[in-house]
Structure formats: structure tokens, C-alpha cells
Subunit: 156 residues, 2 copies
């Protein structure tokens, strides 16, 4: 499904519950996996290809937080409005379902679950999006529910 | 509170429900905020100090995912066992409570909520940790519940 409006003119009203949007992809590079993990998630299965072989993953995997970052890159470039995104209060039920490995290519599928206009602030609404990150074998590697406050094109 | 065991010899049994552990800190650098966001969260209030002034944040703020990464750095260095961490299925109720800005110094407070031995796999248990990230003014900027599978020192 495609949005009726380009990302530079996309507002609360354009997020229609039930719509499914798919976009991507982005490739996971080993150098980046290691560099990210050395700074943000220093555990052997993220930073050390040799030591990683002796873990339950049997080799290097990306930090779950890096997978979130790669998801966010695609989400910001293809889905989230560039003119009306106010803030995100947070995320629910974040799950790292399968390991992400160097060489994997990730894409994103978003299902709009809910879009509720604010009662107290008529210029905005809250959009709830169920996000799945898929690898190149179409396996889900990550899922979460994201909350975004989006400005309305036509304030109520 | 401090653990009875060092991080290199810390097992499921060492995570005692009710215990509160505090550690850190780490400083948020403007260059890193911008570099992280250009790759993982390209939105004006994360990447462009000038354009950020015209947003509801009034200036540059860190990507929420970078704040998660900085939390994870401290969590891996001070809290999570280096010998018995098997995997993390995910996180619940992740909330970005306040903006994180360049110059902020972040620390972490973890309250162990639950530690349940696995019934099906006697070599491990599941630890649930409530994590708060605090800035240098002792304000909460992020909270979440994290789930970790940890190997047992004495398998049941």
C-alpha cells in the first residue's frame, strides 16, 4: 500500500488504521555491527567474531539496539512524516525474534493499528504502528508497537 | 546496592528481586548525537542544530535509540553478567520521558523485578529488570522493562 501523500506533506489524517506499508531494504555490514557494539553493546557475540562462535548464536550477531536503529532509518525515510512528526512517547512489546547477522538485508512492514485524535490538543493525534523487521528470507527478526504524535492537517 | 559477585562470575542466582543497582555515568556528545542520527534516525531535531531550534524541543536532542544504546553500554559494563548472559527476548514499556541533550550526563538505576527459574530448561532463568536512565539533574529521561535469559550457577 502507498500513502496518498508524499512524506514531506504527510499528516495525521494520512495514517489510516488497517493500512500496511512495506519499505526498505538496508544491508547489515560486519564492520558496522562491531563498531556499533563496541560503543553501545559490548558483548562478545556482538563484538568478537571468534568468541561469538562459542555462544548459543554460533557467530556474530548485531546488537538488538542496532537493529532498532536500522529499522528507524527506514521508518524515518519512508513512513514517518517529515513535516508533522512531533515526538514519540515510546514503544511497547519490543521483541528480538531472530538473530540478525552480517550480510542480512532488512526491510520493514508497518501495519497501522490505531490513529486517535487528541481530545485535549486539537492540533495533533496519536498513531500506533505495529512494526515488523524482516530479513532477506522474509523471516521476522524484530517486532514492536510504536507510538507517534503527529500533527493534523486539519486541526479539529 | 552492590552485587555479591563480580560481573565475570555473576549468575542467575545473583539477581535478587527487590535489589536496586545504580551505575554510570556517560556523557552525551553533540558530534556523536549528530553522527548517530544521520545513520539511524535522520530527523531534523536529531541531526540539525539550527533546524532543531524551530521544533517543539527548541534545540538538538539525542535519538531515543541512541539513549537506549548509551543505557545498554552501562548495563553491559556494570550489571549484566559477562559469563552467563544467554540472550534477551525483548523489552516492554519503553518510554522516552524527557529529551536528552548534548552535554547531559546519563546514569542508570536498575530495580530487579523478577527472577524466575525456567521449568523446561533447568540451566537457566529469566530476569526482569526495570531500568531508569537519569540525567545529571536526577531527572528520569528513559524507562523500560528488560527481559534477560541468564544461566544458573547451580542448575536445578
Amino acid at each position: 500500500m502507498t500513502f496518498a501523500s508524499p512524506i514531506t506533506d504527510r499528516w495525521f489524517e494520512d495514517y489510516v488504521p488497517g493500512a500496511v506499508h512495506e519499505f526498505g531494504s538496508i544491508t547489515v555490514e560486519e564492520d558496522e555491527v562491531i563498531a556499533f557494539a563496541k560503543r553501545y553493546d559490548p558483548q562478545d557475540f556482538h563484538t568478537n567474531p571468534v568468541a561469538a562462535k562459542d555462544t548459543i548464536f554460533g557467530g556474530l550477531i548485531a546488537s538488538g539496539w542496532q537493529t532498532c536503529g536500522l529499522m528507524m532509518r527506514l521508518y524515518a525515510e519512508h513512513y514517518l512524516t517529515k513535516c508533522a512528526s512531533l515526538a514519540s512517547p515510546g514503544v511497547d512489546e519490543l521483541r528480538w525474534v531472530r538473530p540478525v547477522r552480517p550480510g542480512d538485508s532488512l526491510s520493514v512492514r508497518v501495519t497501522i493499528e490505531n490513529a486517535v485524535a487528541s481530545k485535549s490538543k486539537p492540533d495533533r493525534g496519536v498513531v500506533t504502528s505495529f512494526i515488523e523487521v524482516l530479513n532477506h528470507k522474509a523471516e521476522t527478526v524484530l517486532s514492536m508497537r510504536a507510538i507517534n504524535m503527529i500533527a493534523r492537517r486539519h486541526p479539529g
